[in-house]
């Protein structure tokens, strides 16, 4: 229990200028031994010097650490790029295949089955999705062609953007498929021609992506010309002309055999 005078004394003291404070300050100060000042200041200076040296060491080790981290990051990136994606492909395939693959119609199923190999069976890539998505399946032959041209194995394990064919190639593939289907229905395309995609697929599925495959097919002028010739032989002159015009636009300057060019009317030669 504090007395009132104690409280008053405390208030006076805290306000400052009390007699007690004054008398305390009048006491002779305990003097610091002379050597202590120098010792402490020297220690302070040494600490700064040592930490500067240590900091230089730390900065060197920082560079080493950064270089090590960069090497690790690059190594991981290379490993992912070359190997890890292989293990990611099956889930993609399983997830996309049932939902995106169109049901083949009976006539297409035959050609599709005939072209399909065990290796590419069930393989679906984004290229196929793009084809199905950008243009609704115009015919079963298109779907079958798209299916048989899908490479499997390492090819389907490549990153999706690389497997996506350019729009031009995709359009070209559809057009070629339609052309071939028509030729087949007319009986102008033999069994060897029908088996060709399967052969090509099976020979190239190990390393070639679908885009490259389709590009090759689209850029194969000889087979295109052969198809035009077959159309012309089947009497589909208008369609053959249209295809020829398209061919010339695609491959300007490419030598076109006479069999593929429009036939002169019989009477014209007579007139000449």
């Amino acid at each position: 229990m504090s007395r009132p005078e104690d409280d008053r004394m405390l208030e006076d003291y805290l306000r400052g200028g009390s007699d007690l404070s004054r008398r305390y300050r009048e006491l002779e100060g305990a003097e610091i031994p002379a050597d202590i000042d120098a010792r402490i200041l020297a220690r302070a200076a040494d600490a700064v010097r040592n930490s500067a040296v240590r900091r230089r060491g730390v900065s060197r080790s920082w560079y080493v650490g950064a270089a090590t981290a960069a090497v690790i990051v690059l190594s991981v990136a290379v490993v992912i790029d070359t190997g890890v994606l292989d293990s990611m492909a099956p889930p993609l395939k399983d997830a996309v295949a049932p939902t995106r693959r169109p049901q083949p119609e009976p006539d297409a199923k035959a050609s599709s089955d005939e072209a399909r190999t065990p290796a590419n069976d069930g393989a679906v890539t984004r290229a196929n999705d793009t084809t199905a998505g950008t243009s609704p399946p115009a015919s079963s032959a298109e779907r079958a062609t798209a299916t048989i041209n899908v490479p499997t194995g390492r090819a389907d394990a490549l990153p999706a953007p690389a497997a996506t064919p350019p729009a031009a190639a995709s359009t070209e593939t559809q057009r070629r498929a339609r052309l071939e289907q028509e030729a087949r229905s007319e009986g102008v395309m033999g069994p060897a021609r029908q088996a060709a995609p399967a052969a090509r697929t099976s020979s190239s599925f190990l390393a070639r992506p679908q885009a490259a495959e389709e590009r090759d097919q689209a850029e194969d002028p000889e087979s295109w010309l052969a198809a035009i010739i077959r159309l012309r032989e089947a009497g589909k002159a208008e369609q053959a002309d249209a295809e020829l015009a398209h061919f010339v636009a695609t491959y300007p300057g490419y030598p076109v055999p006479a069999a593929a060019t429009p036939q002169a009317p019989p009477g014209a030669r007579d007139r000449d």
């Binding site: 004394m9 006076d12 009048e26």
Partner: protein
């Protein structure tokens, strides 16, 4: 160090006494600079440390010497305190005043000192009356020239030495560190009211010790 301005409590015996309140205010204003000096030292400026050291060395040493009652021990602990300041400079941030930081270290160093001695702080050697007599008459505790022959100074020293450690701690911190009761409470690890109560008891005992001298001198006041 001689050229560096020090606080009011470093004034010599012949110098006019600086009013305690103004001194405390002045030192509070310096507190901001103290933090900046410490940051500069942290960044490698040794001169900043020298300024900081010059500002606080006198007060800190008096606090230690009067709290420990042993000049040699005070010198050891004094060096230890500054060593810790130097060692912890990289982690220093201006959260509180530098004085609070410094005296907090000092308070801990005193506790460590007693722990090393294997003694409780209450068993301070100078708590013995015979030891108190020795301390009061020893060279290091001699009054300054002006008050050398007065019994008042001797009585004050003895009363101060006889105070319980916690009460003496609060009184010395208030006198030497220029910190407020809140900071002192934080340093000593108690509540503000407890710190205030300890200070009140300390003042009462000191006043009682000075009463006979005051009657002789015919003085009055706290």
């Amino acid at each position: 160090l001689a050229g560096v301005a020090t606080t009011g409590t470093d004034a010599g015996a012949n110098a006019s006494l600086v009013d305690a309140a103004s001194s405390r205010t002045l030192r509070s204003m310096d507190a901001t600079d103290d933090g900046q000096l410490m940051l500069r030292y942290r960044d490698g400026d040794v001169v900043a440390f020298e300024q900081l050291y010059a500002r606080h060395r006198g007060n800190l040493f008096r606090y230690l010497a009067r709290q420990l009652g042993d000049r040699e021990a005070a010198a050891d602990v004094f060096q230890e305190v500054w060593s810790r300041v130097i060692a912890t400079r990289m982690r220093y941030e201006v959260r509180a005043s530098f004085a609070a930081f410094l005296y907090s270290i000092a308070h801990n160093c005193i506790a460590d000192h007693y722990r090393r001695l294997g003694r409780r702080p209450a068993d301070r050697p100078d708590a013995d009356p015979a030891r108190l007599e020795t301390l009061a008459s020893s060279e290091s505790w001699q009054p300054d020239a002006k008050y050398a022959n007065t019994q008042t100074a001797t009585a004050l020293r003895r009363a101060l030495a006889a105070l319980p450690r916690e009460q003496r701690d609060v009184f010395l911190l208030y006198e030497e560190s220029a910190l407020g009761l809140q900071d002192i409470a934080r340093i000593t690890g108690v509540g503000v009211e407890t710190a205030k109560s300890r200070l009140r008891y300390a003042l009462g005992k000191l006043r009682e010790a000075l009463e006979p001298q005051r009657e002789l001198a015919g003085g009055s006041g706290t």
